[in-house]
Amino acid sequence: MTDHVVLRVIGKLLIPFILAYGLYVQAHGDFGPGGGFQAGVIVAAGLILYGLIHGVAATQRVVPPRLVEALAAVGVLIYAGVGVVTLVLGGNFLGYGALDHSPSHGQHTGVFLVELGVGVAVASVMLAIFYAFASRKPIASGGGRR
C-alpha cells in the first residue's frame, strides 16, 4: 500500500499525534479519563496504522517482534514488581502507601508505575497479536481468494 500518497501523507500527519495522545492518556490517567489500558491500545492502534500503510516489515524495523514480546512480559513484571517493592518496604502487597514519605504521595507513585506496567503490557500484546496475524501467509481453503 506504499504507493498511496494520500494515505502516506495523512498517516504521517496522524500517527505522531496518536502516539502523543497515547502518552498523554497514560500519564494523565489520575486526573482525566484514561489510564494504562486505554493508553496501551491507543499506542498500539497508532503503530498498527503505521503497519497498515507502510507494511508489517517496516513496522517490525521500528519495533522489532523480539522487543514486543519482551516488553509484554516487562509490563506484567513492572506491575508485580511494584507489589514486591511495597512488600520489601514494609507495607502490604500493592499497598502503595509504603512507597513514599506520605501515603498520598506513595499512592501517586504506585498508581503511576502500575498504570505504566499495564500500558506497556497491553500495547505490546496488541502489537504482538497484530504481528502474528499480519505476518502469516494465506491458508485459503474452499475456493477462497485473497
Binding site: G29, D30, F31, G32, G34, G35, G36, F37, Q38, V41, I42, A44, A45, I48, L49, L52, V56, A57, P65, R66, E69, A72, A73, G75, V76, Y79, A80, G83, F93, L94, Y96, S104, Q107, H108, G110, V111, V114, E115, G117, V118, A121, V122, S124, V125, M126, A128, I129, F130, Y131, A132, F133, A134, S135, R136, P138, I139, A140, G142, G144, R145
Partner: protein, 175 residues
Amino acid sequence: MLLAFLLIVALAAVVQRNLLAVVLLFAVYSLLSAALFTSLKAVDVAMTEAAVGVGVSTVLMLATLSLTTHRANRLPRRSVLPLIVVLATGAALVYGTLDMPAFGDPGAPIHGHVAGDYLRRSIAETGIPNVVTSVLASYRGFDTLGETCVVFTAGLGVLLLLGTRRGSRGEATQP
C-alpha cells in the same frame, strides 16, 4: 436514537453475506457503542471501545479475512429449533430485567455496597481525582494485576497458536 442505530447496524450485520461488509458493520457498531458509553458518562470505557473495537479488532478481523475468504458459506438449511431457543432465552432475559432497579436509581443494590465508600474516601486516601483510576489501580489493584496477567496470557496464547517465530523476517513459519 443511538440504540435504534445500534439495532439497525446489528440487523444489517446479521443479514449481510459479504464478510468484509460484516466486519466494517461491526466497526460501526463499536463506534456507536462508544458514543453510547460517552453519553452515559463512561468515558474510560468509550475510549477502550473506540480504540479496541473500532481499531485493533477490525484490523485483526480484516487480516483474518485476507488469509481466508470474503464470502460466507451458505447455510445448508434453516431450522426452526435454534430460533425457538434464542427467542426463549431472550424472553427469559427480558423477564429478568423487569425486576431490576430503574436506571440511575441511587437506592440500587450496586450503589449500597462499597461504591459510596470509594467515592467518599478516594480523594482523602489516594489524592487521585479520577475515581475510576483510583478504584482500578489502588483499591482493586489485585484485580487489575490479574487482568494484566490475562492480557499477557492471551497474547502468549495467540503467539503459540499462530507459531510466528522471529528470524524469518516478516514471514511466518508454516506449522
